[in-house]
């Protein structure tokens, strides 16, 4: 790994021309202002990693939760398996996946997706479990089929908890994606590791990471507020 790092340092700043703040590896507003454009591509890649992993994790976890909602005995095993996946150190997981999925974006996504399963699965199940018993009884008593009840009553009422799970997953993924460079998936982590001694670089990449997480979180929150008018009026 020393190869790309040394090479990258040349790319990020030309030490021979460094003066003052930059030469001292300091936090240099002027440098950041001039070079912020260089961070856009890693930022987009970071966003891409996050969105794809969260969406994929959501689809898998949601499907698993729907199956487990009808077959309750599956809740334990699925929680167990996704729980184990959640505890595998990310670096180890990247190493495990590399021979299978190769060096690159896919490996990053597969690993990040696996970390999303537990939290989203658990929240979908909890959301479905917390639907008021009376609403379920009324739905059945009025003649809804199981499927109608699921899509018209249970899932809409579980949305707040499902969204809460997706928010946690999204924020976590933005953080974890900073390690995806190990799998060759790029992102802001790649940018950090390129010049770990240069404070301006580290701060810029880190702040972008935090801003990305906050922006995505706010976006989901705003979406929820718009999509769930009944939550606004009752709170």
């Amino acid at each position: 790994m020393t190869g790309p790092l040394v090479l990258a340092q040349v790319v990020i700043r030309d030490r021979s021309k460094d003066v003052g703040c930059v030469a001292k590896d300091g936090l240099c507003p002027a440098w950041i202002k001039d070079h912020i454009g260089d961070y856009m591509s890693p930022l987009l890649r970071h966003l891409e990693l996050t969105v794809v992993s969260v969406v994929a994790g959501f689809l898998i976890a949601f499907a698993l939760a729907l199956v487990a909602h009808r077959r309750r005995w599956l809740v334990g095993p699925i929680t167990g398996v996704t729980g184990v996946m959640y505890t595998i150190p990310s670096l180890a997981l990247f190493a495990i996946l590399l021979p299978v999925t190769g060096f690159g974006f896919v490996t990053g996504v597969v690993a990040l997706t696996s970390y999303n399963l537990l939290v989203i699965f658990r929240n979908v199940i909890a959301g479905l479990d917390n639907v008021p018993e009376a609403a379920l009884d009324a739905a059945r008593g009025m003649g809804m089929t199981d499927r109608q009840r699921l899509w018209r009553v249970e899932l809409p009422l579980a949305v707040p908890e499902i969204v809460a799970g997706v928010r946690v997953a999204t924020t976590t993924t933005v953080g974890l994606a900073a390690l995806a460079f190990v799998a060759g998936a790029g992102g802001l982590g790649q940018q950090i590791i390129l010049d770990q001694n240069f404070k301006s670089n580290i701060v810029t990449a880190s702040v972008l990471c935090i801003l990305l997480a906050a922006a995505l979180d706010l976006l989901i929150l705003a979406g929820e507020r718009i999509a769930l008018p009944w939550r606004r009026v009752t709170e």
Binding site: D137, G141, M142, P229
Partner: protein
Amino acid sequence: MTSEPHRPPEGPSAHREAATLELRHIRKQYAGTAEPAIDDLSLEVPAGEICVLVGPSGCGKTTAMRLVNRMIEPTSGDILIDGASIMDRHPAELRREIGYAIQQIGLFPHQTVADNIAVVPKLLGWDRRRVSARVEELLDLIGLEPAMAARYPGQLSGGQRQRVGVARALAADPPLMLMDEPFGAIDPISRERLQNEFLRLQGEIRKTIVFVTHDIDEAIKMGDRIAVLRKGGVLAQYATPAELLMAPADEFVEDFVGADRALKRLALQRVRDIDLWDAPTVRVGDPGAQARERAAASPIGHALLVDDDGRPVSWLSATDLAADTVRPHEGRLTTVELDDILRDALADLLQGQVMYGVVTDGGGRVAGVLSVEVISGFLTEQGAGSIDEAPAPADRAAQ
């Protein structure tokens, strides 16, 4: 469900005839239990009547109700709606034809009032126009402003939610309705009002209703017929409220109905239903002798001064009548109305600490005298003869 005197009829989308309901030798035993929850229950509910299932907790009254829309399947026996067995029906389709209201209401918090009311019509595939027309009709029927249609259940008061729950159960104009303690979760004053509103409503819509409650007073008030269940789902008695109060089938029913069942009978009657005494009325300017004669002839021993319109003014004693002509006089009177429930009228007499109450008609004119003696005679009367003529609750509420 407002207190307006003239209510609009339910509307053009409502026209279905009420259904008859018959339970035949129903038995329900849950796996792993020694005793059945329902044991050989047979009931017939005529079309358009309210059948109240009442009994102590664990008597299987809710279970019995839930058998009717196949929320629970019987172990044996059959249930027929309009003579056809429900066992041949697809449960979800069957349920769409039976109104369903429960104590916890179970409104969908994520849907507006309009959407909540529209649940069953939408399941039945009504087009949008018909659905929204029906929702409008029902909001009017239950006395909610049209603007409430866009509200969410979280924005409604407890009483409003109950009304919406009833409207939702009525939405597809079902010929049969199941109501499990629909007024159970609200304060006594609102409950009383909702009960009265519902009886008035029932006077118009004439549904066949299975109504579950643990409250015998509510059962007596709401029911055309009452099925008293004892533990283990055994039918102890199935009778009209009057029969139940006059002739409890056994000690269990007697206990359940309560030691004050004689008093409860008063709640079934109105002042107009019992024999009133003629009022010994006199007017200002009448000859004194004639007035004294009248007072003496009446068991009350007093004469009743009325104004020119026949409205009561005051009781006049022999001393008040000593003059040659009857003079203007002021005094205290306890009056009750012909339409008052007998129990309330008795309470008024006791409150006024008087033996006699002047009964007035709708125009405030004297219609007779209600005496505590007459009420006590009514209470000790034997046999159900005079009581059986009492109108059904819905009629009473409609008056």
